[in-house]
Structure formats: C-alpha cells, structure tokens
C-alpha cells in the first residue's frame, strides 16, 4: 500500500513512500483509541483514581464502616448504628480530648501565625547571612517530629529537666515546674513544641508571599507618609491575606489531627489531661483493640475540619472575588 505524505513543500509534496508492512494497522487502532478523548482521559486518570481509591477512599469507607460496627481486634463486628458515637460523646475522657483538641489547635495556630509572620517580616529584610538564617530556620520543620519531640521530652523531664535546672540556677524558681506532670502545664508544653515545629512552615510560606508584593506599593505608601505599622496593615496584610489563609487551613488540618507529638511527649497523660482526639482514638482503637469505638472517636474530627476548611475557603474565594 502506498500513500502520499501529507504536507511538505515543493517537489516533496508529490513524493510517494512505501509503508513497510500491513501490521502497521495495529498502531493505527491504538492511535484511534488515543484520539478518543474519553478513552484517553480514562487511561490517564485511572492510575490516580486507583491510588486515591486504594489509599484514601478505601480507608475512609472502612473507617466509616468500623465506626458503625462493634468490631474489636480479631472479631468481625456487627452493625450497631451510631452507638459508638453516642458512647464516645458521653465518655468524659472523650470530652476532655475533644476540648483539648480545640484548645491545642487554636493556640498553636495563633502562635504559629503571629511568630511565623514576625519571622517572615524579619527575614524579608536584607542583612548579612540572610541565606544561612533562612535555611537554619527550617531545621525544626525538617527534623522528624518524633526525634525532636523526644528531645523536648528530655528538656521537660519531670526529674532531670534541663529547663528546670536552668531556671533554678538562675534564681527564677525555687521548686521544679511540673512541665509534664500537670495537665495544664502539659498542654502548654505541647502547644509550645507544636509552635516551635510548625512556625517555620508559616514563616517560609509567608516570606514567599511577601516577596511577591511589589516594593513600589510600599514606596508609594511611604511617600504618602505612612509609618511602618500603617504600611503593614494597609499594604502588606491585604495582599498577604490569601496566602495566610491557605497556610492557616493547612495548619489547622494538621494540628487538629496531630498525633505524634502528644503520643511521644505526654502519651495523653497525666490522667488523660492532654489527650487529643487522635491519641485517644489510637488508645481505644489500637492499644485497647476496640476498633469500632476508636474509629468513631477519630471520625469526630471530620465534620469539625470540614466546617473549618469550608468557612476558610469560602472567605478566601470572597477575597479573590474582591
């Protein structure tokens, strides 16, 4: 079979070439398949759908099923409706964990945002060694959470705390502070560690946002007589708001579902005073083996996070619209 080559110019337009083999029909078929937009879209999307289905949808559906059943370790459960949710809601430890999760998320996010913003504004200035400072600022974020939390745990150790030693030697205290052995102290220690760890994420993202702001705007504001605070409030903050909201959304999700930090630092103690929903769900579901009840506790996070994220994204959309 001979076929003229399409296109070309001059004498080449009339050139005829021999196609090698009738088997060439096969690539033509697959070519037709690839030309079909629906099939191509399906082929391209299916790996992603498979991955999402396996690693997100299946565990989620499984979690929902477990929460509605009385499954315990090694025993396939039966459907019990919302019994696990009601039981959790009436459980005093759950109530403490639920409250703690809000307190922990709220304060940690506030501190991370304000300190992260402050750091970003400082790092946005020119000074010698700026690159080293910027790189080293990321260290808390890079070090695995479990490792860094162990280090903090040693610093807060009930008997051998280096912080207590320093405060005592400096004359600030006369008796040891109960860093991890008192519920209130324990929660603030956890918030401190979370802030220390999460602040670089805020700082680096906000710094990236700051660098997109046109310096001319600041210059114009200065010429109009605006002072530092006025420039920040009227120029920087409005332009940084969308980035800030995105960072806050991410942070709220991560902090609300935090597990590693509390598990290593306090284990939820003393007397359950620092349990978060994730650590309590783990204790009930995994350590005690009551998988249904554990799944129900963890699913309490879902509507809360959904509402928070929805509100924030709605606000973000409104900002973008404006």
């Amino acid at each position: 079979m001979k076929k003229p080559i399409a296109g070309g110019s001059g004498g080449a337009a009339g050139l005829e070439v021999a196609l090698p083999h009738p088997r060439a029909a096969r690539p033509q078929t697959s070519g037709r398949v690839l030309e079909n937009e629906r099939l191509l879209a399906f082929a391209l999307l299916s790996p992603t759908v498979l991955l999402l289905g396996t690693f997100i949808a299946y565990p989620f559906v499984m979690g929902v099923w477990l929460s509605l059943s009385n499954t315990s370790v090694g025993n396939i459960g039966e459907f019990v409706g919302v019994k696990n949710f009601v039981k959790a809601w009436n459980d005093s430890i759950f109530q403490t964990a639920f409250r703690n999760t809000f307190v922990y998320t709220f304060w940690a996010t506030i501190f991370k945002l304000s300190l992260g913003m402050w750091l970003a504004l400082l790092l946005n200035r020119s000074f010698r060694g700026k690159r080293i400072v910027r790189a080293s600022m990321l260290l808390p974020f890079i070090v695995p959470t479990v490792l860094s939390t162990f280090a903090w745990r040693w610093m807060f150790d009930p008997t051998f705390s280096v912080l207590n030693w320093l405060l005592y030697q400096s004359g600030f205290i006369v008796t040891k502070l109960p860093f991890l052995s008192d519920g209130t102290y324990g929660m603030w220690c956890a918030i401190t560690v979370n802030t220390w760890r999460g602040m670089p994420f805020f700082a680096i993202t906000l710094l990236a946002g700051l660098q997109t702001i046109n310096p001319d705007l600041h210059e114009a504001a200065s010429l109009d007589g605006a002072n530092g605070w006025q420039r920040f409030w009227s120029v920087t903050w409005p332009l940084l708001k969308p980035v800030t909201l995105v960072v806050v959304v991410f942070s709220v999700i991560q902090t609300f579902s935090d597990f590693q930090l509390i598990y290593v630092l306090t284990g939820g103690g003393p007397a359950n005073a620092t349990h978060l929903l994730a650590t309590y769900a783990y204790q009930i579901g995994v350590a005690t083996g009551l998988l249904g009840e554990g799944a129900a506790i963890s699913l309490f996070m879902l509507p809360v996070l959904f509402v928070v994220v929805w509100l924030q994204l709605r606000y973000l959309r409104r900002l973008e619209g404006a």
Binding site: V73, G74, N75, K87, D91, S92, I93, D157, P158, T159, F160, K176, P178, F179, L180, S181, D182, G183, G186, T266, G267, G268, G269, P270, A271, N272, A273, Y282, Q283, I284, G285, V286, A287, T288, G289, L290, L291
Partner: protein
C-alpha cells in the same frame, strides 16, 4: 544442646528415626517479638545463645525483635487485623484474653509445662486461660517490691521497713522533708503504674468487681484508698511521677533523687552491675545501701501485683507447629533455666519449681524476697475473672487514673464516681 537433644526435648524424636528434617525445617522462618528487657543481658542471652542453638537444631531461621513494652499492644492489634506479623508475641498481664480470637490454643504445651515444672502460679494461669483453653504459654513473672535506701530510712528513724501503709506515708513525709521523696508513677505506663495502683484497692478491701464480674468499685473502701493515695502523694512523693514511665523511677533512684519506689529488681541489679559508677552520697557503691520490702499492709492486708509474662502464638502464623515446638523447647527447664539465671531474680518462673532454684543461694540477701514474691499476687479484674473486660480496664488506665485524678486535686468521691462509671460501662 544439639539437634538430637532439641528434638528429644520437644517430643519429635521420631523425626530422627525418619532420617530427614521435618517439613518446617526447610528454610522456614519464625519471628519472635518481645519487649526490651529491663535486664539487657537477658535479651543478649536469648539472642546470642539460646536462639542460635534453636536455629541450629530446628534448621529454621528465628528472628528476635525487641520493642518498648508500651508499644506491644498496638503491634498485636495491627498484626491480628492485618493477618501478618510476628509468629510469636510476648504478652504481659492478661492481654491474651483481649486477643483470644487471634491466639492459637496452647493447652497441650501448657499442660506439659505445668506438669514438668510443678504447676503454674495462679496469676500466670489466670493471665492466659479462658476457662478451658490456654491462650498463651506462661513464661515468667516480674516481681515488684519496694526498693529503698537503708541509710536514708535510718536517718528518719526507720531501722526496719514500714509494716503498714500509714507508717509508710509518715515515713515518706519525713523523707520528703529531708529532700529524699518517695518516687512512684501514676502515669500511662505498662508495669509500675498498675502494679502500684491495683494493690491499693485490694489492700483497702475493695476491688474492681465481685466474683461474678460485676463492677463494685463505688464504695467507701475505694474512697478511703483514694484518700490515702492523695495524702501519700502530697506528703511523701515526688509529684513529677504523674508523667513517669517505667524507666523514670529507675533513673531517679539510681541518681539519688528518690529514696524508695515500687519496682522490679532491675534497680538493684543495675546498681550492682554498675557499682563502679553508681555511688551513694558518701561515694560508696549504692548497691550496698539498697534493700527491698513488699507493699505495706492496708486495712485488708498486703497484696501485690506481680506481672505475668507469656508467649502467644498467633493464629495467622503459617508456622504454628514450628512455633509451638520452639516454645516447648524454650520453656523447658534447661533453656528457661539459663535465661532465668541471667535475670538474677528480676524475672521469676511462672511455676513454683523456680523458687527451688540453686540460683537464689548465690544472690545477695537483698534479692531473696523476690524468690517468693509472686505468691502474694492477685490479678487485674479481681475478684471477678481476669477476662477481656479486665484487660480493657487496664488498657484504658482507669484504676491508675482514678488515683491520679484525686492526687491532682479532684475530690476522692468524684474520682471514684468517675472510675466506677467507666467500669460500669465495661463490666456492667
């Protein structure tokens, strides 16, 4: 032990006559998961001496993995749910009841062990037996006694250990005033916390349940017990103990921060093995100043909780027969005896046979109490059966938290009401 000895001891000598190794010996693997022993030499003996012998004799590969005891329960849950993991897992307390659907019936091997070694201690059997079946094979018991500094006790006028809890509190008060508080954990940790909190119920004549297994915690005796703990905590203890795990009191004692603590024998053994470094305030080896006494008596007597350890063969294991044969070999007198001697009293046997071991004659007088400590033990869930519900109460730290809440300021009556409410949900 050679291959022939191994097969003889596990009752498969016939395999020798058949002239070929059993099917499982053809490159099969066994995975044994245990805690990080508080006596590291025990893990070394297991890893470097006993397991190589078993490997040689079995022709199978045996892998030992050790993890923090507080992480064992999550690992068991994950293994059972995924149907994949270690073939044999060490359990503490009465955990096998919680995981009974994932455990292989070990009755045949357990009956052999009981017959061979003079019968199990009550708590060892209760920890693993669901009435008919042995859900795991009893391995050892970790005795818990109060380690104390003799010289510091003498300084406040105690030439002998206290006999009653009230005496102990008064003594502790004097010690704390001198900067040597008693150290105890009321934290979320596997051993020292329940071993301290559960006996406080029993010594005041109260319990989690009645014999039928119904919750009976909400009573005046429990309130009295909680009140005693609260005043003991404030008057005598290092209040940092709320956040201690099982290792904190060891470190605090060996560094001279506390004068007494309920613990396994690991403090004494560590002080002895490290006597070149671990010194008292006069520069002498601290070990010479350490002795032990049982938890002093309350209004209803003196009980302890000595923790039983067992080995559970997992139902998902593809090598159940091999695992059972291996455990039969490991739990036999010859093998267990070698491990037991390295433990130097930290771990006693699960049967009374080991009270008669000549090893006890070689130990220091301060260690002698551990020889029979396991005799005065009750089980979690007392006075009812130590079933899965008792395991759930233990795993949620409800009894320990009842005391911790009161010691942190909650009214004793309210703390008891809270705990009784939690127990009611579990026991009914």
């Amino acid at each position: 032990m050679d291959r022939r000895g191994f097969l003889k001891s596990t009752g498969v000598a016939g395999i020798l006559a058949a002239g070929r190794a059993p099917a499982f010996a053809q490159g099969t693997k066994l995975h044994l998961l245990r805690w990080n022993d508080f006596i590291p030499a025990c893990d070394v003996t297991l890893r470097e001496k006993l397991l190589p012998e078993a490997i040689k004799a079995l022709g199978a590969e045996i892998q030992l993995e050790t993890i923090n005891a507080n992480d064992l329960q999550p690992r068991i849950t994950a293994a059972i749910q995924s149907g994949n993991g270690a073939d044999i897992i060490m359990t503490l307390h009465n955990w096998p009841h919680l995981y009974q659907s994932g455990a292989v019936d070990m009755t045949d091997v357990a009956e052999w062990q009981a017959k061979d070694q003079g019968g199990f201690y009550q708590q060892s059997e209760q920890a693993v037996k669901d009435g008919k079946r042995f859900l795991a094979l009893p391995w050892s018991i970790s005795g818990l006694l109060i380690a104390y500094r003799k010289s510091w006790f003498a300084e406040v006028g105690a030439s002998a250990p206290p006999k009653t809890l009230e005496e102990y509190r008064e003594l502790g008060m004097k010690l704390k005033k001198k900067g040597h508080p008693i150290g105890q954990t009321l934290g979320h940790t596997f051993g020292d916390a329940p071993a301290w909190s559960y006996p406080m119920l029993w010594n005041f004549g109260t319990a989690e349940t009645d014999k039928a297994g119904k919750s009976v915690l909400d009573n005046k005796k429990t309130v009295d017990s909680v009140k005693w703990m609260t005043s003991f905590w404030k008057d005598a203890c290092d209040e940092g103990g709320f956040a201690w795990d099982d290792t904190n009191n060891n470190r605090a004692f060996l560094s001279g921060e506390i004068s007494a603590t309920l613990n396994g024998a690991s403090i004494y053994i560590a002080a002895k093995r490290g006597q070149e470094k671990i010194k008292d305030d006069k520069g002498e080896p601290m070990v010479r100043d350490i002795d032990h006494f049982p938890i002093p008596g309350g209004p209803a007597g003196s009980w302890g909780y000595h923790i039983p350890f067992s080995h559970m063969v997992m139902k998902y294991s593809k090598n159940q027969k091999l695992a059972k044969d291996f455990l039969k070999w490991l739990h036999a007198k010859e093998q267990f005896g070698r491990w037991f001697e390295v433990a130097e009293g930290f771990s006693v046997g699960s049967t009374k046979h080991w009270e008669r071991s000549p090893m006890w004659e070689k130990l220091d007088p301060a260690m002698k109490l551990y020889r029979t400590a396991a005799q005065a033990s009750r089980m979690v869930g007392y006075a009812g059966p130590p079933n899965a519900k008792a395991s759930e109460v233990y795993s949620k730290y409800i009894i320990t938290d009842m005391y911790a809440k009161a010691a942190q300021g909650m009214k004793a009556e309210d703390a008891v009401k809270w705990a009784a409410g939690e127990l009611q949900k579990i026991y009914g």
